[in-house]
Protein backbone atom coordinates (compact mmCIF):
# COMPACT_ATOMS: atom_id res chain seq x y z
CA UNK A 1 0.00 0.00 0.00
CA UNK A 2 2.80 2.32 0.88
CA UNK A 3 4.29 1.92 -2.57
CA UNK A 4 0.99 2.69 -4.25
CA UNK A 5 0.72 5.90 -2.28
CA UNK A 6 4.19 6.83 -3.40
CA UNK A 7 3.11 6.44 -6.99
CA UNK A 8 0.04 8.54 -6.56
CA UNK A 9 2.15 11.36 -5.25
CA UNK A 10 4.67 10.90 -8.08
CA UNK A 11 1.99 11.10 -10.70
CA UNK A 12 0.42 14.01 -8.89
CA UNK A 13 3.58 16.03 -9.02
CA UNK A 14 3.95 15.20 -12.71
CA UNK A 15 0.48 16.47 -13.26
CA UNK A 16 1.04 19.61 -11.23
CA UNK A 17 3.99 20.46 -13.43
CA UNK A 18 1.86 20.46 -16.51
CA UNK A 19 -0.52 23.18 -17.50
CA UNK A 20 -3.54 20.98 -17.20
CA UNK A 21 -4.26 18.04 -14.90
CA UNK A 22 -5.34 15.73 -17.70
CA UNK A 23 -3.07 12.86 -18.50
CA UNK A 24 -3.27 13.32 -22.25
CA UNK A 25 -1.77 16.77 -21.75
CA UNK A 26 1.21 15.44 -19.81
CA UNK A 27 3.68 15.87 -22.63
CA UNK A 28 2.52 19.31 -23.74
CA UNK A 29 3.43 22.80 -22.66
CA UNK A 30 6.83 24.14 -21.55
CA UNK A 31 7.40 21.51 -18.84
CA UNK A 32 6.08 18.91 -21.19
CA UNK A 33 8.77 19.77 -23.73
CA UNK A 34 11.45 19.47 -21.10
CA UNK A 35 9.97 16.20 -19.94
CA UNK A 36 9.91 14.89 -23.48
CA UNK A 37 13.53 15.92 -24.04
CA UNK A 38 14.57 14.25 -20.81
CA UNK A 39 12.73 11.10 -21.83
CA UNK A 40 14.32 11.17 -25.26
CA UNK A 41 17.83 11.74 -23.96
CA UNK A 42 17.99 9.60 -20.86
CA UNK A 43 19.85 6.34 -21.14
CA UNK A 44 17.19 4.73 -18.99
CA UNK A 45 14.75 2.83 -21.20
CA UNK A 46 11.19 3.79 -20.34
CA UNK A 47 7.81 2.77 -21.66
CA UNK A 48 4.23 3.40 -20.64
CA UNK A 49 1.38 0.98 -21.18
CA UNK A 50 -2.35 1.54 -21.07
CA UNK A 51 -4.14 -1.02 -18.90
CA UNK A 52 -7.51 0.40 -19.98
CA UNK A 53 -6.99 -0.90 -23.52
CA UNK A 54 -7.25 -4.58 -24.38
CA UNK A 55 -3.98 -6.49 -23.60
CA UNK A 56 -2.33 -3.50 -21.90
CA UNK A 57 -0.42 -2.18 -24.96
CA UNK A 58 2.61 0.15 -25.02
CA UNK A 59 1.50 3.71 -25.77
CA UNK A 60 4.87 5.36 -25.26
CA UNK A 61 8.46 4.17 -25.57
CA UNK A 62 11.53 6.41 -25.43
CA UNK A 63 14.63 6.29 -27.59
CA UNK A 64 16.63 4.32 -24.98
CA UNK A 65 13.92 1.67 -24.99
CA UNK A 66 14.19 1.32 -28.78
CA UNK A 67 18.01 1.29 -28.60
CA UNK A 68 17.97 -1.39 -25.91
CA UNK A 69 15.46 -3.65 -27.62
CA UNK A 70 16.45 -3.01 -31.23
CA UNK A 71 12.90 -2.34 -32.41
CA UNK A 72 11.52 0.66 -34.33
CA UNK A 73 8.98 2.95 -32.74
CA UNK A 74 6.13 1.63 -34.89
CA UNK A 75 6.98 -1.95 -34.03
CA UNK A 76 6.43 -1.50 -30.29
CA UNK A 77 3.53 0.95 -30.01
CA UNK A 78 0.26 -0.89 -29.58
CA UNK A 79 1.97 -4.14 -28.53
CA UNK A 80 2.01 -5.85 -25.15
CA UNK A 81 5.50 -5.98 -23.60
CA UNK A 82 5.61 -9.74 -23.82
CA UNK A 83 7.34 -9.56 -27.21
CA UNK A 84 10.52 -9.02 -25.13
CA UNK A 85 10.23 -12.53 -23.68
CA UNK A 86 11.80 -15.62 -25.17
CA UNK A 87 12.33 -19.32 -24.64
CA UNK A 88 14.75 -18.93 -21.68
CA UNK A 89 12.77 -16.27 -19.86
CA UNK A 90 12.11 -17.50 -16.35
CA UNK A 91 8.43 -18.29 -15.68
CA UNK A 92 8.77 -17.26 -12.03
CA UNK A 93 9.79 -13.71 -12.88
CA UNK A 94 6.93 -13.50 -15.41
CA UNK A 95 4.50 -14.56 -12.70
CA UNK A 96 5.83 -11.78 -10.48
CA UNK A 97 5.24 -9.27 -13.28
CA UNK A 98 1.71 -10.58 -13.93
CA UNK A 99 0.90 -10.40 -10.25
CA UNK A 100 2.26 -6.84 -9.91
CA UNK A 101 0.11 -5.69 -12.85
CA UNK A 102 -2.96 -7.48 -11.51
CA UNK A 103 -2.49 -6.08 -7.99
CA UNK A 104 -1.27 -2.67 -9.23
CA UNK A 105 1.98 -2.97 -7.30
CA UNK A 106 5.47 -1.62 -7.79
CA UNK A 107 7.96 -4.33 -8.70
CA UNK A 108 11.68 -4.53 -9.38
CA UNK A 109 12.61 -7.80 -11.00
CA UNK A 110 15.43 -9.16 -13.13
CA UNK A 111 14.11 -10.86 -16.21
CA UNK A 112 15.83 -12.36 -19.24
CA UNK A 113 14.64 -10.46 -22.34
CA UNK A 114 15.31 -10.75 -26.06
CA UNK A 115 16.18 -8.05 -28.57
CA UNK A 116 14.69 -7.93 -32.05
CA UNK A 117 17.78 -9.74 -33.39
CA UNK A 118 17.22 -12.56 -30.90
CA UNK A 119 20.14 -11.74 -28.57
CA UNK A 120 19.44 -11.98 -24.85
CA UNK A 121 19.98 -9.41 -22.15
CA UNK A 122 19.27 -9.29 -18.43
CA UNK A 123 16.72 -6.60 -17.78
CA UNK A 124 16.34 -5.03 -14.35
CA UNK A 125 12.70 -4.13 -14.85
CA UNK A 126 11.10 -1.57 -12.60
CA UNK A 127 7.35 -1.34 -13.13
CA UNK A 128 4.42 0.22 -11.36
CA UNK A 129 1.03 1.87 -11.75
CA UNK A 130 0.40 5.53 -12.45
CA UNK A 131 -2.88 6.96 -11.13
CA UNK A 132 -4.84 10.05 -12.03
CA UNK A 133 -4.02 12.66 -9.41
CA UNK A 134 -7.62 13.79 -9.12
CA UNK A 135 -9.70 10.69 -9.48
CA UNK A 136 -7.24 8.03 -8.33
CA UNK A 137 -8.11 6.06 -11.44
CA UNK A 138 -5.48 3.73 -12.88
CA UNK A 139 -4.13 5.39 -16.04
CA UNK A 140 -0.86 3.75 -17.02
CA UNK A 141 1.78 1.33 -16.04
CA UNK A 142 5.33 2.58 -16.34
CA UNK A 143 8.18 0.24 -17.07
CA UNK A 144 11.82 1.20 -16.89
CA UNK A 145 14.37 -1.20 -18.27
CA UNK A 146 18.03 -1.38 -17.36
CA UNK A 147 20.43 -3.77 -19.04
CA UNK A 148 22.23 -5.56 -16.19
CA UNK A 149 23.80 -8.34 -18.25
CA UNK A 150 27.28 -7.35 -17.08
CA UNK A 151 26.21 -7.50 -13.43
CA UNK A 152 24.72 -10.91 -14.10
CA UNK A 153 27.87 -12.13 -15.79
CA UNK A 154 29.97 -10.94 -12.84
CA UNK A 155 27.66 -12.71 -10.41
CA UNK A 156 27.80 -15.92 -12.44
CA UNK A 157 31.61 -15.66 -12.55
CA UNK A 158 31.75 -15.27 -8.79
CA UNK A 159 29.52 -18.29 -8.34
CA UNK A 160 31.70 -20.30 -10.72
CA UNK A 161 34.81 -19.17 -8.87
CA UNK A 162 33.35 -20.35 -5.58
CA UNK A 163 32.44 -23.72 -7.01
CA UNK A 164 35.90 -24.03 -8.52
CA UNK A 165 37.53 -23.09 -5.22
CA UNK A 166 35.54 -25.74 -3.39
CA UNK A 167 36.43 -28.32 -5.99
CA UNK A 168 40.10 -27.34 -5.75
CA UNK A 169 39.98 -27.48 -1.97
CA UNK A 170 38.47 -30.95 -2.13
CA UNK A 171 41.09 -32.16 -4.60
CA UNK A 172 43.86 -30.64 -2.56
CA UNK A 173 42.67 -32.42 0.58
CA UNK A 174 42.42 -35.62 -1.36
CA UNK A 175 45.98 -35.19 -2.64
CA UNK A 176 47.17 -34.48 0.89
CA UNK A 177 45.40 -37.66 2.03
CA UNK A 178 47.02 -39.78 -0.65
CA UNK A 179 50.45 -38.23 0.01
CA UNK A 180 50.00 -38.92 3.71
CA UNK A 181 49.08 -42.52 3.05
CA UNK A 182 52.06 -43.05 0.74
CA UNK A 183 54.41 -41.54 3.31
CA UNK A 184 52.86 -43.72 6.00
CA UNK A 185 53.04 -46.90 3.91
CA UNK A 186 56.65 -46.11 2.99
CA UNK A 187 57.38 -45.73 6.68
CA UNK A 188 56.03 -49.20 7.34
CA UNK A 189 58.05 -50.66 4.48
CA UNK A 190 61.28 -49.02 5.62
CA UNK A 191 60.69 -49.66 9.32
CA UNK A 192 60.54 -45.92 9.98
CA UNK A 193 56.90 -45.44 10.90
CA UNK A 194 57.77 -43.02 13.70
CA UNK A 195 59.66 -40.76 11.33
CA UNK A 196 56.94 -40.83 8.70
CA UNK A 197 54.26 -40.13 11.31
CA UNK A 198 56.20 -36.99 12.16
CA UNK A 199 56.43 -36.03 8.50
CA UNK A 200 52.70 -36.60 8.10
CA UNK A 201 51.92 -34.40 11.09
CA UNK A 202 53.77 -31.55 9.44
CA UNK A 203 52.19 -32.18 6.04
CA UNK A 204 48.71 -32.13 7.62
CA UNK A 205 49.52 -28.89 9.45
CA UNK A 206 50.53 -27.32 6.14
CA UNK A 207 47.35 -28.57 4.49
CA UNK A 208 45.18 -27.20 7.28
CA UNK A 209 46.99 -23.87 7.32
CA UNK A 210 46.36 -23.37 3.61
CA UNK A 211 42.89 -24.88 3.51
CA UNK A 212 41.00 -21.65 4.16
CA UNK A 213 43.14 -19.59 1.83
CA UNK A 214 42.38 -22.04 -0.97
CA UNK A 215 38.69 -22.56 -0.44
CA UNK A 216 37.56 -19.01 0.25
CA UNK A 217 38.13 -17.95 -3.37
CA UNK A 218 39.23 -14.58 -2.11
CA UNK A 219 42.29 -13.22 -3.80
CA UNK A 220 43.57 -11.33 -0.78
CA UNK A 221 45.83 -12.61 1.97
CA UNK A 222 44.34 -15.07 4.46
CA UNK A 223 43.51 -13.87 7.96
CA UNK A 224 45.66 -15.30 10.73
CA UNK A 225 42.74 -16.29 12.97
CA UNK A 226 41.43 -18.67 10.29
CA UNK A 227 44.86 -20.26 10.00
CA UNK A 228 45.36 -20.61 13.75
CA UNK A 229 41.91 -22.19 14.13
CA UNK A 230 42.39 -24.57 11.20
CA UNK A 231 45.81 -25.79 12.37
CA UNK A 232 44.90 -26.16 16.05
CA UNK A 233 41.40 -27.61 15.81
CA UNK A 234 42.66 -31.22 15.49
CA UNK A 235 44.36 -30.75 18.90
CA UNK A 236 41.29 -29.38 20.63
CA UNK A 237 39.86 -32.92 20.89
CA UNK A 238 36.25 -31.85 20.70
CA UNK A 239 36.30 -29.32 23.51
CA UNK A 240 36.20 -25.77 22.24
CA UNK A 241 37.70 -23.92 25.15
CA UNK A 242 41.12 -25.58 25.13
CA UNK A 243 42.48 -22.73 23.05
CA UNK A 244 41.80 -19.14 24.01
CA UNK A 245 42.55 -16.93 21.03
CA UNK A 246 42.86 -13.18 21.00
CA UNK A 247 44.15 -11.08 18.19
CA UNK A 248 43.54 -8.57 15.50
CA UNK A 249 42.95 -9.31 11.84
CA UNK A 250 46.29 -9.76 10.10
CA UNK A 251 46.60 -10.82 6.48
CA UNK A 252 49.37 -13.36 5.87
CA UNK A 253 51.14 -14.25 2.65
CA UNK A 254 51.43 -17.84 1.46
CA UNK A 255 54.94 -18.43 2.76
CA UNK A 256 54.11 -16.89 6.13
CA UNK A 257 51.06 -19.14 6.38
CA UNK A 258 53.26 -22.22 5.92
CA UNK A 259 55.66 -21.22 8.68
CA UNK A 260 52.98 -20.12 11.15
CA UNK A 261 51.18 -23.41 10.47
CA UNK A 262 54.31 -25.46 11.09
CA UNK A 263 55.29 -23.58 14.26
CA UNK A 264 51.79 -23.95 15.74
CA UNK A 265 51.84 -27.65 14.86
CA UNK A 266 55.19 -28.16 16.64
CA UNK A 267 53.98 -26.25 19.71
CA UNK A 268 50.71 -28.17 19.83
CA UNK A 269 52.45 -31.53 19.34
CA UNK A 270 54.86 -30.68 22.16
CA UNK A 271 51.95 -29.58 24.39
CA UNK A 272 50.14 -32.86 23.66
CA UNK A 273 53.16 -34.88 24.73
CA UNK A 274 54.52 -32.90 27.66
CA UNK A 275 52.48 -29.77 28.21
CA UNK A 276 49.03 -28.32 28.74
CA UNK A 277 47.33 -30.50 26.15
CA UNK A 278 48.40 -33.67 27.99
CA UNK A 279 46.12 -32.74 30.93
CA UNK A 280 42.32 -32.57 31.04
CA UNK A 281 42.31 -29.06 32.52
CA UNK A 282 45.06 -27.74 30.29
CA UNK A 283 44.62 -24.56 28.32
CA UNK A 284 46.61 -22.59 25.79
CA UNK A 285 46.20 -18.85 25.40
CA UNK A 286 47.20 -17.31 22.09
CA UNK A 287 47.66 -13.59 21.60
CA UNK A 288 48.77 -12.03 18.36
CA UNK A 289 49.33 -8.59 16.96
CA UNK A 290 51.21 -6.81 14.23
CA UNK A 291 54.13 -4.60 15.17
CA UNK A 292 56.50 -2.83 12.75
CA UNK A 293 55.65 -5.19 9.92
CA UNK A 294 56.15 -8.19 12.19
CA UNK A 295 53.70 -10.75 13.41
CA UNK A 296 54.06 -11.29 17.15
CA UNK A 297 52.30 -14.40 18.41
CA UNK A 298 52.42 -15.38 22.08
CA UNK A 299 51.62 -18.93 23.15
CA UNK A 300 51.02 -19.51 26.83
CA UNK A 301 50.22 -22.90 28.35
CA UNK A 302 48.55 -23.44 31.70
CA UNK A 303 46.89 -26.23 33.63
CA UNK A 304 49.36 -28.84 32.43
CA UNK A 305 51.91 -30.83 34.44
CA UNK A 306 54.50 -28.79 36.37
CA UNK A 307 57.65 -28.33 34.37
CA UNK A 308 60.91 -28.74 36.26
CA UNK A 309 63.23 -29.25 33.33
CA UNK A 310 63.27 -28.62 29.61
CA UNK A 311 61.97 -31.77 27.90
CA UNK A 312 64.88 -33.41 26.14
CA UNK A 313 62.84 -34.63 23.23
CA UNK A 314 61.12 -31.32 22.68
CA UNK A 315 61.14 -30.59 18.96
CA UNK A 316 60.17 -26.96 19.31
CA UNK A 317 62.82 -24.34 18.94
CA UNK A 318 65.38 -26.90 17.90
CA UNK A 319 66.69 -28.30 14.67
CA UNK A 320 64.79 -27.71 11.50
CA UNK A 321 62.13 -25.38 12.94
CA UNK A 322 64.62 -22.80 14.18
CA UNK A 323 66.57 -23.05 10.93
CA UNK A 324 63.38 -22.52 8.94
CA UNK A 325 62.41 -19.51 11.03
CA UNK A 326 65.90 -18.05 10.72
CA UNK A 327 65.66 -18.24 6.95
CA UNK A 328 62.41 -16.26 7.17
CA UNK A 329 64.16 -13.69 9.44
CA UNK A 330 61.92 -14.79 12.28
CA UNK A 331 62.51 -16.24 15.72
CA UNK A 332 60.79 -18.33 18.33
CA UNK A 333 61.52 -17.53 21.97
CA UNK A 334 60.87 -20.33 24.48
CA UNK A 335 60.43 -19.83 28.19
CA UNK A 336 59.86 -23.07 30.12
CA UNK A 337 57.93 -21.70 33.10
CA UNK A 338 56.87 -24.06 35.90
CA UNK A 339 53.20 -23.53 35.03
CA UNK A 340 53.75 -24.21 31.38
CA UNK A 341 55.65 -23.29 28.28
CA UNK A 342 55.51 -19.70 27.11
CA UNK A 343 56.56 -19.22 23.53
CA UNK A 344 56.78 -16.09 21.48
CA UNK A 345 56.93 -16.16 17.70
CA UNK A 346 58.14 -13.12 15.85
CA UNK A 347 58.40 -13.01 12.09
CA UNK A 348 58.02 -10.52 9.26
CA UNK A 349 54.57 -10.34 7.69
CA UNK A 350 55.72 -10.73 4.12
CA UNK A 351 53.57 -9.22 1.44
Amino acid sequence: MEKTTENISQSQSAHDDTESGHPEDNFTGATGVLFERAMAQTRMAVCLTDPNQPDNPIIFANRAFLMLTGYDHDEVIGKNCRFLQGPDTDEDSLNLIRKAIRDEEVLVVEVLNYRKDGTKFWNALHLGPIYDGDTGELLYFFGSQWNVSDVHAARADEHQAKLLARELSHRMKNMFSVIGSIVSLTGRQEGAKQVTDKINGRIRALGNAHENALSSASAGPADISEIVTAVLSPYAAGSEDVFIMRGEKIGLSTSTISLVGLVLHELATNATKYGALSADEGKVTLDWREEDGHLILDWKESGGPKIDHVPEEAGVGSGIMSTLLKSARGELGLDWQKDGLQASLRMPVMS
Binding site: R166, N174, G180, R188, Q189, D197, I203, G207
Partner: protein, 137 residues
Protein backbone atom coordinates in the same frame (compact mmCIF):
# COMPACT_ATOMS: atom_id res chain seq x y z
CA UNK B 1 55.93 -55.87 -0.55
CA UNK B 2 56.71 -56.47 3.09
CA UNK B 3 55.07 -53.90 5.21
CA UNK B 4 55.78 -53.47 8.86
CA UNK B 5 52.88 -53.27 11.23
CA UNK B 6 53.96 -51.01 14.04
CA UNK B 7 53.02 -52.34 17.46
CA UNK B 8 50.88 -49.67 19.04
CA UNK B 9 51.56 -48.36 22.51
CA UNK B 10 47.89 -48.51 23.29
CA UNK B 11 47.54 -52.23 22.65
CA UNK B 12 45.18 -54.27 20.56
CA UNK B 13 42.01 -52.30 21.27
CA UNK B 14 40.26 -53.62 18.20
CA UNK B 15 41.27 -57.24 18.60
CA UNK B 16 38.46 -59.53 17.43
CA UNK B 17 36.67 -56.76 15.56
CA UNK B 18 35.69 -57.30 11.95
CA UNK B 19 35.70 -53.90 10.28
CA UNK B 20 34.28 -52.84 6.92
CA UNK B 21 36.40 -50.16 5.25
CA UNK B 22 34.68 -48.43 2.34
CA UNK B 23 37.21 -46.28 0.48
CA UNK B 24 37.52 -45.73 -3.26
CA UNK B 25 41.17 -44.68 -3.18
CA UNK B 26 43.29 -47.85 -2.94
CA UNK B 27 46.30 -46.04 -1.45
CA UNK B 28 44.31 -44.44 1.36
CA UNK B 29 42.44 -47.73 1.79
CA UNK B 30 45.63 -49.72 2.35
CA UNK B 31 46.85 -47.16 4.89
CA UNK B 32 43.54 -47.25 6.80
CA UNK B 33 43.46 -51.03 6.62
CA UNK B 34 46.96 -51.39 8.07
CA UNK B 35 46.30 -48.77 10.74
CA UNK B 36 43.27 -50.73 11.94
CA UNK B 37 45.23 -53.98 11.74
CA UNK B 38 47.84 -52.37 14.03
CA UNK B 39 45.14 -52.38 16.69
CA UNK B 40 44.25 -56.01 16.06
CA UNK B 41 41.27 -55.57 13.75
CA UNK B 42 40.25 -57.90 10.93
CA UNK B 43 39.57 -55.61 7.95
CA UNK B 44 37.52 -56.14 4.80
CA UNK B 45 38.12 -53.40 2.25
CA UNK B 46 35.52 -52.44 -0.36
CA UNK B 47 36.09 -49.98 -3.21
CA UNK B 48 32.45 -49.19 -4.01
CA UNK B 49 29.07 -49.08 -2.29
CA UNK B 50 28.02 -52.12 -4.35
CA UNK B 51 31.00 -54.11 -3.08
CA UNK B 52 30.25 -53.03 0.47
CA UNK B 53 26.57 -54.05 0.30
CA UNK B 54 27.64 -57.38 -1.15
CA UNK B 55 30.28 -57.85 1.57
CA UNK B 56 27.63 -57.21 4.22
CA UNK B 57 25.75 -60.29 3.02
CA UNK B 58 28.88 -62.41 3.44
CA UNK B 59 30.43 -61.08 6.65
CA UNK B 60 29.19 -60.09 10.05
CA UNK B 61 30.82 -56.72 10.74
CA UNK B 62 31.26 -55.18 14.17
CA UNK B 63 31.77 -51.69 12.81
CA UNK B 64 32.71 -49.71 9.71
CA UNK B 65 34.76 -46.78 8.41
CA UNK B 66 33.13 -45.08 5.42
CA UNK B 67 34.58 -42.62 2.95
CA UNK B 68 31.73 -40.30 1.94
CA UNK B 69 32.51 -39.40 -1.69
CA UNK B 70 33.12 -42.52 -3.71
CA UNK B 71 33.64 -41.04 -7.16
CA UNK B 72 31.28 -40.75 -10.14
CA UNK B 73 28.59 -39.16 -7.95
CA UNK B 74 28.54 -42.19 -5.69
CA UNK B 75 28.36 -41.79 -1.93
CA UNK B 76 28.28 -44.02 1.11
CA UNK B 77 24.63 -43.11 1.83
CA UNK B 78 23.10 -46.51 0.98
CA UNK B 79 25.74 -48.38 2.94
CA UNK B 80 25.19 -46.05 5.92
CA UNK B 81 21.46 -46.80 5.83
CA UNK B 82 22.08 -50.57 5.70
CA UNK B 83 24.55 -50.37 8.60
CA UNK B 84 22.02 -48.42 10.67
CA UNK B 85 19.32 -50.99 9.90
CA UNK B 86 21.63 -53.71 11.15
CA UNK B 87 22.67 -51.73 14.22
CA UNK B 88 26.32 -51.67 13.18
CA UNK B 89 28.22 -48.58 14.44
CA UNK B 90 30.33 -46.64 11.96
CA UNK B 91 32.32 -43.46 11.48
CA UNK B 92 32.86 -41.31 8.40
CA UNK B 93 36.24 -40.48 6.89
CA UNK B 94 35.95 -37.51 4.55
CA UNK B 95 37.84 -34.53 3.20
CA UNK B 96 34.75 -33.03 1.68
CA UNK B 97 32.87 -31.42 4.53
CA UNK B 98 32.00 -28.35 2.48
CA UNK B 99 30.42 -30.01 -0.50
CA UNK B 100 29.01 -32.99 1.36
CA UNK B 101 28.06 -31.19 4.56
CA UNK B 102 24.34 -31.86 4.18
CA UNK B 103 24.75 -35.55 3.48
CA UNK B 104 27.18 -35.94 6.38
CA UNK B 105 24.75 -34.21 8.71
CA UNK B 106 21.93 -36.40 7.48
CA UNK B 107 23.92 -39.58 8.10
CA UNK B 108 24.77 -38.29 11.56
CA UNK B 109 27.90 -40.25 12.44
CA UNK B 110 31.25 -39.05 13.87
CA UNK B 111 33.55 -37.63 11.18
CA UNK B 112 37.30 -37.89 10.89
CA UNK B 113 38.48 -35.14 8.57
CA UNK B 114 40.91 -36.17 5.85
CA UNK B 115 43.84 -35.98 5.81
CA UNK B 116 44.00 -37.69 9.19
CA UNK B 117 46.59 -39.60 11.17
CA UNK B 118 46.24 -43.30 12.03
CA UNK B 119 45.73 -42.26 15.63
CA UNK B 120 42.94 -39.77 14.88
CA UNK B 121 41.05 -42.39 12.91
CA UNK B 122 41.47 -45.21 15.41
CA UNK B 123 40.75 -42.96 18.41
CA UNK B 124 37.54 -41.71 16.83
CA UNK B 125 36.40 -45.23 16.04
CA UNK B 126 37.28 -46.53 19.51
CA UNK B 127 35.53 -43.58 21.21
CA UNK B 128 32.42 -44.19 19.12
CA UNK B 129 32.45 -47.91 19.94
CA UNK B 130 32.72 -47.09 23.63
CA UNK B 131 29.93 -44.51 23.45
CA UNK B 132 27.62 -46.91 21.66
CA UNK B 133 28.38 -49.67 24.13
CA UNK B 134 30.19 -51.91 21.66
CA UNK B 135 33.51 -51.67 23.51
CA UNK B 136 34.25 -51.21 27.18
CA UNK B 137 36.38 -48.23 28.11
Amino acid sequence: MMLQNSVSETGMKLSGFKILVLEDDPIIALDVEMSLQDYGADVVHCLSPEEALEAMTQHVFNCAVLDVNLGKNKTCADVAVRLKENGIPFILHSGDLRRRGELIEEIGAPVVVKPSSDEQLVNCLVDHLIQTGHLSA
